[in-house]
């Protein structure tokens, strides 16, 4: 068996070659990969580690499917310390972010968080971000690991005319996510903070296991859960303490492979797959993040306003396959045999038991929904290595947690 290398972006881009390339690359990551404060904990747990965006990260600890299912039914513990944390502080911080980002961050109340994006002049997405307003004049911006340096530079440039300071604080934080329906129950054992007071997309300075943390009810799995921004020196203690507190509830450590299938089922975009410099937020169905009516000008406004009023060139859709071969990133989408789009992310859905994918397709194809009964050789299909596999458009997300 030889590797034919169809990786989504949570995996390093291995050279195409024999299977052994995968294994040795995973076992012997490039020496310059950065370690998080928890990397040696993952090594002790026997994790398969991989170089992801220049960081040595756990891909899986055992079965990634079991990790995925644990997060859906119980809880999972993730090390996300590779994510970039940037602080923007000062009296002009709110105004600087209103100009730098597509959202209205001055309207964000302290203690709340928002999903937003930073775009280029042409409206292309530089990164998607979570912005926490910690105080009137203090924001914490969380960027994707691969984009953090670019985002930091762009913020510095865009904040230059404002009374605001941008600081890369990635090395000052370890980030631990506790995700799943039992996350709140587990966390409640370790904190006096009333977790019912922490709403979705809120943050709170709290003590967990006696350590100070920035506790946020955010996540990337489609489940309830928390993200804990902690001092690097407290990371191992908190990881171990959380793992012990949740062991009776089925809490397991979960790696990047599970995180990718969890977010895909939840219909959440991944930068490098659904989002890139070549797409606008509108293409991705996320036009609501762009606040064209905010008072200030902002980078990308003219292009985004034009795009908002124009006919879409492509649309992000969800699809399920009717056979078992898995659509993967970059595969063509066919409509009556002609290419009409491309898969951005695909996997066998552990929850649904069928292959699922997100894809950009032509809007006229996206408007077609009655493809299920299309005769053979027509309708929607994914070109899976030369063989058209019938597919069906479905609304996103693929999975919504029971309320």
């Amino acid at each position: 068996m030889r590797l034919r290398a169809h990786h989504t972006s949570v995996l390093p881009k291995f050279p195409v070659g024999s299977l052994s390339v995968t294994y040795s690359a995973a076992a012997q990551p490039q020496h310059q990969a950065r370690r998080t404060p928890l990397t040696h904990v993952h090594e002790q747990l026997g994790a398969t580690l991989t170089d992801f965006a220049g960081w040595l990260m756990p891909l899986r600890y055992g079965s990634e499917t079991a990790e995925h299912n644990a997060v859906r039914t119980a809880a999972g513990l993730f090390d996300l310390s590779h994510m970039g944390e940037l602080s923007v502080t000062g009296p002009g911080a709110a105004a600087a972010l209103d100009y730098a980002l597509v959202g209205a961050l001055s309207a964000l109340r302290p203690g709340r968080a928002r999903y937003t994006m930073i775009c280029a002049d042409d409206g292309g997405v530089i990164d998607d971000l979570i912005v926490y307003r910690l105080a009137d004049a203090e924001y914490l911006i969380v960027a994707n690991a691969a984009n953090a340096p670019v985002v930091c530079r762009a913020l510095e440039e865009r904040a230059a005319g404002y009374d605001a300071t941008v600081t890369d604080r990635t090395a000052d934080y370890a980030l631990i996510a506790l995700q799943g329906p039992r996350a709140a129950r587990i966390l409640a054992r370790l904190t006096d903070t009333d977790l019912t007071e922490i709403k979705y997309y809120a943050s709170y300075r709290a003590e967990v296991g006696g350590k100070p943390v920035l506790l946020a009810r955010t996540g990337y799995t489609g489940e309830d859960g928390f993200e804990l921004y902690v001092a690097p020196e407290d990371a191992e203690y908190l990881w171990t303490t959380l793992a012990e507190a949740g062991s009776g509830d089925g809490l397991v450590p979960a790696g990047l492979a599970a995180r990718d299938t969890l977010r895909l089922e939840a219909g959440m975009p991944l930068y490098g797959n659904e989002l890139s410099r070549d797409v606008t937020p509108y293409d991705a169905g996320l036009g609501w993040v762009v606040k064209l009516d905010k008072e200030s000008d902002f980078v990308g406004k003219a292009a985004l306003a034009a795009r908002a009023g124009a006919t879409a060139q492509r649309q992000l859709v969800g699809l399920t396959c009717r056979t078992r071969r898995v659509p993967r990133h970059g595969y063509d989408i066919l409509w009556d045999g002609s290419v009409c789009g491309s898969v951005t992310s695909g996997a066998r859905s552990p929850t649904l038991g069928v292959p699922i994918a997100m894809a950009y397709v032509r809007p006229d194809v996206a408007a077609e929904t009655g493809t299920a009964a299309a005769p053979e050789g027509t309708g929607l299909a994914v070109d899976v290595r030369g063989q058209p596999e019938p597919a069906t458009l479905v609304p996103l997300p693929f999975y919504r947690r029971p309320s």
Partner: protein, 131 residues
């Protein structure tokens, strides 16, 4: 990593068990660990002619897809139907319940079909790759 002594191997990380004229084929423990959870396997149907070193199927895991190569010349006599319902058998029992297909091997001159590795040779190969 387990490498059972009684089996033969290929550099493509497949194992072969020879019983008379019939060869059973699967992927090794090393391979299943490197792939992660197997989600779908396609193998040649019974009656298909296969040629040593030629692709004859695919193994899909969560994160990758890999070609299967036939380790021998011959005709497929049986495929493991259980794998269709539960591809995870390839991970949980790669040398047992996770076998993939059986081939009636064409006649060959030596004690074993040509080109196969012993357990010691395969163990050395994977050790080399890990180092």
């Amino acid at each position: 990593m387990t490498v059972p002594a009684e089996l033969y191997y290929t550099p493509e990380h497949e194992w072969v068990s020879i019983s008379g004229a019939i060869a059973s084929v699967g992927i090794t423990d090393h391979a299943q660990k490197a792939l992660g959870d197997v989600v779908f396997v396609s193998v040649p149907a019974s009656g298909t002619r296969v040629t040593a070193g030629e692709p004859c199927g695919e193994v899909e895991s969560t994160k990758s897809v890999s070609d299967l190569y036939s380790p021998v010349d011959g005709e497929v006599t049986e495929v493991n139907q259980e794998i269709d319902d539960d591809p995870g058998l390839v991970n949980s029992d790669p040398y047992g319940a996770g076998w993939l297909f059986r081939v009636r091997v064409d006649e060959y001159d030596d004690d074993v079909p040509p080109g196969l590795l012993s357990a010691a040779e395969y163990g050395a190969l994977t050790k080399e790759e890990e180092e």
